[in-house]
């Protein structure tokens, strides 16, 4: 069987030991392109991770007493599940009516999307991007463009803070990502940071929402 090499947060290690199937790799719709991508659910802590892979030619791994071709290195990074839920809410939103969540988050191509419904504080999350109604103790949701843009603006601002804190080069100038001179932050304009952050967030939302966010 193929072996994979993962960089995971330390606390996930015992998650997989504590509970069989504690960690589940599932294929879900990537919220930007709609194509399948691999995500990781930590069933214990009900947490979602995106999986990215470092892929460079001419690599292999020695893993214990075996050789694994390809030399891929996978990274699991915590991800806000609302990006994946938003993908379904926008799709359903086109009908304009309020709907129960379990009729919105359905996908015969990626049936495992229902795992998203098991995530804790789902209602709190949905509050950021939907209008909701309660009828006979049942919640109905409708995608709200305004609320979503406000929520995304917060994401962009948080990302700007993080880019600065991590000395990420955002300037348009061509230079190596790993070299930065001390006075980097000052020379990169605020605008560069916002644009860069918008670009990063746009990897997680549909194209048209990215354009709306850019205008917004």
């Amino acid at each position: 069987a193929p072996q994979h090499v993962f960089l995971l947060p330390e606390y996930l290690k015992d998650a997989s030991e504590k509970m069989k199937g504690g960690l589940m790799f599932v294929k879900l719709a990537n919220p930007c392109s709609g194509e399948g991508a691999i995500y990781l659910f930590n069933m214990n802590l009900q947490q979602l991770f995106e999986i990215k892979v470092f892929k460079e030619k001419y690599h292999s791994w020695f893993i214990n007493q075996s050789v694994q071709s390809g030399g891929l290195l996978h990274f699991a990074t915590p991800m806000d599940p609302l990006f994946l839920l938003l993908h379904y809410l926008i799709k359903a939103g086109k009908e304009g009516k309020y709907q129960p969540l379990d009729q919105v988050v359905v996908d015969d191509v990626f049936p495992n999307c229902i795992l998203l419904l098991k995530l804790p504080d789902l209602e709190k999350l949905l509050h950021h991007v939907t209008e909701e109604k309660e009828i006979n103790n049942k919640k109905y949701y409708r995608y709200s463009r305004e609320k979503t843009l406000r929520w995304l603006e917060k994401k962009v601002n948080q990302t700007v803070v993080s880019l600065k804190a991590n000395n990420v080069i955002v300037g348009a100038r061509v230079q190596s990502a790993t070299f930065f001179s001390g006075d980097q932050a000052s020379s990169d304009k605020e605008e560069d940071y916002v644009r860069y952050a918008h670009g990063l967030i746009s990897d997680y939302i549909p194209k048209e929402l990215s354009d709306e966010l850019s205008t917004y």
Partner: protein, 300 residues
């Protein structure tokens, strides 16, 4: 001859030397150079020099160090023991080149071929004797490659010494034959006591002469080929015998530069500009990820 340094690490090279007889510092000396194990696909190649005062050449001859090729392994061992005894007028130095050193030199990105390695080793040993204070006035060398160029190169390197490079020098000059005996004894011992760093389980010691055309040697190579690692480092990977077996029995490996070497057909520059609809890579991620070689994982 203490080969313990080689037993500790047999992946590089090691130099062994006798003490320098006092007579060899005071009197003009003649020095012979020869090697053993140049042809085999297994084990080290040993370069040796042997030197003695010109005035004692007759004594050296009296040791019956005739053409070393006619001597058996035991006779060589006995003769070497005698030379070790006659410390007062015979000195020797050995340079043991491990199969790993030979392979990595010949297969390195910058090729360092066996002739160059041999010439440099011989010159290095002559220099070593001079540095030890041996009063060398004449050098006789068994040829490797074209005698003229080799002789010219050595003569240029050691202008104050009379250099003679000749084929079959070990049959013509006793001091070269003595060097040849030192080299052969060292190689035989090194092969016999070879410690496989790969801690092979069932290594059988019967690998024949080590020469590529020896059926025993070929059988041994086929038996010990390892699909991923090739061979134990006892084997010279740069020998075509070894490479032929690897091509048949071992797994393929691609290196960054080998792809270039294989002359992967260079892409037309226009293909970099046309939209590569057909070869669309997974959705191109933000520059932050592309810069770090990261892509979405679309399958496991």
């Amino acid at each position: 001859m203490d080969l313990s340094e080689l037993e500790r690490d047999n992946t590089g090279r090691c130099r062994l030397s006798s003490p320098v007889p006092t007579a060899c510092r005071d009197e003009p000396c003649v020095l012979g150079v020869d090697e053993a194990g140049r042809g085999p696909v297994l084990g080290p190649m040993v370069y040796a020099i042997c030197y003695c005062p010109v005035s004692r050449l007759a004594d050296l001859e009296a040791l019956k160090v005739a053409d070393s090729k006619t001597l058996s392994e035991n006779e060589r061992e006995r003769l070497f023991a005698k030379m070790e005894e006659d410390q007062d007028f015979v000195g020797w130095v050995l340079d043991v080149l491990s199969p790993n050193l030979i392979s990595t030199s010949m297969l390195g990105r910058v090729k360092y071929n066996l002739n160059s390695l041999s010439h440099d080793t011989a010159a290095g040993l002559i220099q070593y004797a001079l540095d030890q204070g041996v009063n060398v006035t004449q050098v006789f060398v068994d040829t490797v490659g074209m005698p003229e160029t080799y002789q010219a190169r050595l003569q240029q390197r050691f202008p104050g010494i009379q250099v003679t490079v000749k084929a079959k020098a070990d049959a013509l000059y006793p001091v070269v034959s003595a060097a040849s005996i030192c080299a052969k004894v060292a190689r035989d011992r090194a092969v016999k006591t070879w410690r496989f760093v790969e801690s092979l389980q069932d290594v059988d010691a019967d690998y024949g002469s080590g020469y590529p055309n020896d059926p025993k040697t070929k059988a041994w190579l086929r038996k010990h080929v390892e699909p991923v690692f090739g061979f134990p480092q006892f084997v010279r990977f740069s020998w075509s015998t070894a490479q032929t077996i690897l091509e048949k029995e071992a797994e393929g490996v691609t290196w960054e530069d080998s792809a270039a070497e294989d002359g992967a057909q260079p892409r037309k520059i226009t293909t970099y500009f046309l939209n590569r609809g057909s070869q669309a890579r997974p959705q191109a991620l933000h520059w932050y990820f592309q810069e770090r070689g990261l892509e979405m994982a679309t399958s496991l």
